[in-house]
């Protein structure tokens, strides 16, 4: 059971096992393939679980039962949906730009894959631990918007084009707030490396240690990351009543499934970054000198902590979606540029002052 608490045993065993049988160059390639396959599998499972969770959460909020027919409690519903999506005909508009139309879903998926590689899942379970961690995640997640813009333009459909423009304007604006709210915590950690940020929270999570400015930053992060993933109440890019389905109106079958999957993958990624930076990543919940309590918390494996925190943030985002009414485009841009951004900038100065005076824990 030791590997459940420190995954470096597992990864070292795999590495040594491969090194005995193959050349070093082949080992590197095999390991890259293994990591890639793991993430693909993770994405597939995430898609299945999160779509089911979203339908059940929305059902609870709207006092319905949600899917109940397929499998016990409707648990096999998403699996059936996937089979349906795979069997659908891939349609392409007559005057669509075929190359870009086919490329767009892959751009979004590649951006999601690149971003998830930097997430620390548990002790020793971390694909790449960059020195520039947060900067890297911000950089690659800004690539996803290109896929959305290409999808909207190449569909040769005015709804798609308008949806893509709205979506692009939204993501570009809210990226700023996400990055700045993360920077507020970086002021305290003094490092962009995600593993260092997790280690620095061994004696308490930053949202508690950084108290007031950290809480403001966490709130801004929640709002801005919900907007960055194009989810409600910021889902005006795919507002059904005005734009049918926004930038992915013309997509069907597998390529539509990619957009759908990318939305949930991106939600998982932003929740993962939020959990890592504000809620201590895979670090258990510790209270000062309560030895017994801390020992009990240490007993829960880190990977359970990580997925628990991510699940909590995802639940908050779903709660937002099914509670708040949708914003108009001008309200959306006003919220970002006139409220969130100035508050964020002042918050960073406040955090820097607190950090300088040593008023955090």
């Amino acid at each position: 059971m030791k590997w459940l608490y420190d995954f470096s045993y597992l990864t070292r065993t795999i590495h040594e096992g491969l090194s005995e049988r193959f050349e070093p160059g082949t080992v590197v390639i095999l390991e890259m393939l293994l990591v890639g396959l793991t993430f693909m599998l993770l994405f597939a499972v995430l898609g299945l679980v999160l779509v089911y969770a979203e339908r059940k959460v929305s059902a609870v909020i709207q006092q319905r039962l949600g899917p109940m027919r397929v499998g016990k409690w409707g648990t096999a519903q998403t699996l059936a949906d996937v089979i349906k999506l795979l069997l659908k005909e891939p349609l392409i508009n007559k005057d669509a730009d075929r190359f870009l139309f086919n490329l767009a879903p892959f751009v979004i998926m590649i951006a999601a894959f690149m971003a998830i590689a930097a997430l620390p899942f548990a002790k020793g379970l971390h694909a790449i631990d960059f020195d520039i961690g947060i900067l890297y995640v911000a950089a690659v997640s800004s690539l996803g918007v290109i896929g959305i813009l290409l999808a909207g333009w190449s569909s040769n459909n005015k709804y798609s084009l308008i949806g893509a423009m709205r979506s692009g304007a939204q993501i570009i604006s809210y990226e700023l707030s996400v990055a700045l709210s993360l920077l507020t915590i970086v002021v305290l950690t003094g490092s962009l490396q995600l593993s260092v940020i997790v280690e620095s929270q061994a004696d308490g999570w930053w949202i508690f240690k950084g108290h007031i400015p950290a809480m403001i930053a966490f709130l801004i992060f929640l709002i801005a990351s919900t907007a960055e993933t194009n989810r409600g109440p910021f889902d005006l890019a795919e507002a059904e009543s005005e734009l049918t389905a926004g930038f992915h109106t013309e997509y069907s079958g597998l390529k539509f499934a990619f957009f759908f999957l990318a939305e949930f993958a991106n939600m998982f990624i932003v929740a993962g970054i939020g959990a890592t930076v504000f809620l201590g990543g895979w670090m258990p919940f510790h209270i000062g000198t309560w030895e017994g309590f801390n020992a009990v918390m240490d007993f829960i494996p880190p990977i359970v902590w990580f997925f628990g925190k991510v699940g909590f943030i995802i639940f908050l985002m779903m709660w937002f979606r099914w509670t708040f009414p949708r914003l108009r485009i001008d309200q959306l841009l006003t919220l970002e540029w006139k409220y969130l951004l100035p508050i964020n900038l002042m918050n960073i100065v406040l955090m820097a002052f607190l950090s300088l005076m040593g008023w955090h824990f």
Binding site: G25, L100, L150, S154, G168
Partner: protein, 171 residues
């Protein structure tokens, strides 16, 4: 051939192909996408050199910033059925000669230059080192150019706001 050499030549090949496609494509949005691939290839080369900071900056500024800006302006101004006209043969000829001349010159200099392998260990380019250098005012610090550039950026931002601002007089 070593694995790193194979990876390098793959990235370099991708960059060359997409750079050529970017200037020869007659559909303007496709050209922008090919440019994106060429720029992302540059970032991949920086990652290969373990210079992660520059790689991330390349992705943020060029791929995430400038290419998105280009795509946005194309989305606003052109229609999907538009194709660029074929350039006149004279122009193609002059451009090709200039490009070939530039290529020859670069290759000539590169092949004739003697590269000296450094014996000193290369400096680590971690974020903390870069930050201390950028804001350092002792020897080896770059705080003055850093501040000059930030003033330039501030001026550009104010200029953009002045241009974009609506006139206060009622029309």
């Amino acid at each position: 051939m070593a694995t790193s050499a194979i990876i390098f030549y793959t990235i370099a090949g991708i960059m060359i192909i997409f750079s050529l496609l970017a200037v020869t494509s007659r559909r303007i949005l496709r050209a922008a996408v090919y440019l994106l691939f060429a720029l992302a290839g540059t970032a991949a080369l920086y990652f290969m050199l373990d210079y992660q900071f520059l790689a991330a900056v390349q992705l943020i500024v060029y791929a995430g910033g400038i290419v998105v800006l280009i795509i946005f302006s194309i989305l606003l101004t052109t229609h999907i059925n538009e194709k660029l006209e074929k350039p006149a043969w004279g122009k193609v000829f002059i451009t090709a000669t200039l490009v070939l001349g530039g290529l020859m010159l670069t290759l000539f200099v590169l092949t004739n230059h003697e590269f000296v392998l450094g014996t000193e260990p290369t400096a680590e380019a971690t974020v903390s080192v870069i930050g201390e250098r950028l804001l350092g005012y002792q020897a080896g610090g770059y705080v003055l150019p850093f501040e000059v550039i930030s003033i330039l950026l501030l001026a550009a931002m104010i200029g953009a706001i002045v241009i974009a601002k609506r006139n206060s007089t009622k029309s």
